[in-house]
């Protein structure tokens, strides 16, 4: 097993090994996450849009923030081929969306004829 990947080095010598991110990608991720937090904050505090637009805007910002954390910090991009992590994440998200959207839907429209 010592005969492969001579280019990426062995033991402790693999700085800049791409599967663990670089300082650059962490800084980009950090800056993006700060920006994606400030935008909804300003939108809410200044009340510059209607309530509906603001709600959609801040939810979109939160989802983008989620993507930033996954891609820049949790290294989802660099997972090797059978993408078990990604597939299990999608599975979990499908269940989660079903629970959240289903609960809201049924509790909003459950008014039986009174």
């Amino acid at each position: 097993m010592a005969n492969h990947n001579a280019s990426s080095g062995h033991g402790h010598g693999h700085d800049g090994h791409e599967s663990h991110g670089s300082l650059k990608s962490y800084v980009i991720g950090f800056v993006l996450s700060i920006v994606l937090t400030i935008i909804p904050l300003v939108a809410v505090m200044n009340g510059m849009f209607s309530k509906q637009v603001t709600t959609v805007l801040i939810l979109v910002m939160a989802i983008l923030q989620f993507a930033v954390q996954l891609l820049f910090f949790m290294h989802l991009r660099e997972e090797k081929k059978p993408r078990y992590n990604l597939i299990s994440l999608i599975f979990g998200l499908v269940i989660m969306v079903t629970i959240v959207a289903g609960s809201i839907w049924i509790m909003t429209y459950n008014a039986v004829a009174t």
Partner: protein, 214 residues
């Protein structure tokens, strides 16, 4: 040396080799990778747990039973401060990982300590907020809104607290054993956990606090 390299979870550029080689090194490698995947599955169950708590909160958020509403009692400045503290701690735990991959034990421990201190100040702010809320008359039994609020926000806080205890134990272990394949995997895993908690907080911040004061 090659042993240490092998056990690097998620090492890139291995795909061409696959598991067809089938010798011992790869078995070991796969096992380390499986352990990381197992932790990832735990995080997925946490996604579902928090999803359920968010659903509960969304459904109950208007039921204040004549008691105080969130909008009346929430003090945004403290929440904004804790949000940026947690975002920064997510970044510093990433820097700790970079130091580890460079083989710098001191740097790794230093950045983990910084991360833990940021996490501790987050918890301090949260406890202060909860005391303030209870003082204003909003306890977990006040109304459905506050039950859902304290359960959701409290569960996240509990996760952060567990992460702090875990990180402290890991720092002690790193000081004694240094950077080994096993401690490396543990640092990778706690870093995943920490980023995940940051993600959950972003949704707490957006749905409970920002939408609460809108």
């Amino acid at each position: 040396m090659a042993h240490a390299y092998q056990s690097h979870a998620g090492a890139h550029g291995h795909s061409a080799h696959g598991s067809h080689d089938g010798h011992h090194g790869h078995d070991h490698h796969d096992q380390e990778e499986m352990k990381t995947f197992g932790f990832w599955l735990f995080l997925i169950t946490d996604v579902i747990l928090f999803g359920t708590l968010f659903a509960t909160f969304m459904v109950l958020r208007l039921n204040t039973a004549g008691g105080p509403t969130g909008a009346e009692l929430i003090e945004l400045p403290g929440i904004i401060a804790s949000t940026f503290i947690l975002l920064t701690s997510s970044f510093t735990s990433g820097v700790a990982l970079l130091e580890m991959n460079r083989g710098n034990k001191k740097g790794l421990i230093l950045w983990l300590i910084i991360t833990a201190l940021l996490g501790a100040s987050f918890i301090y702010l949260e406890v202060t907020e909860f005391i303030h809320l209870v003082h204003e008359g909003a306890t977990i039994g006040t109304s459905a809104y506050w039950s859902a609020f304290f359960t959701l926000v409290g569960t996240h806080g509990l996760h952060v607290t567990v992460g702090l205890v875990w990180m402290t134990a890991l720092i002690l272990q790193l000081r004694r054993r240094g950077i080994t394949p096993v401690t490396k995997r543990k640092v990778n895993i706690i870093s995943l956990y920490w980023h995940f908690l940051d993600v959950v907080w972003i949704f707490v911040f957006t749905i409970v606090y920002l939408m609460g004061v809108m």
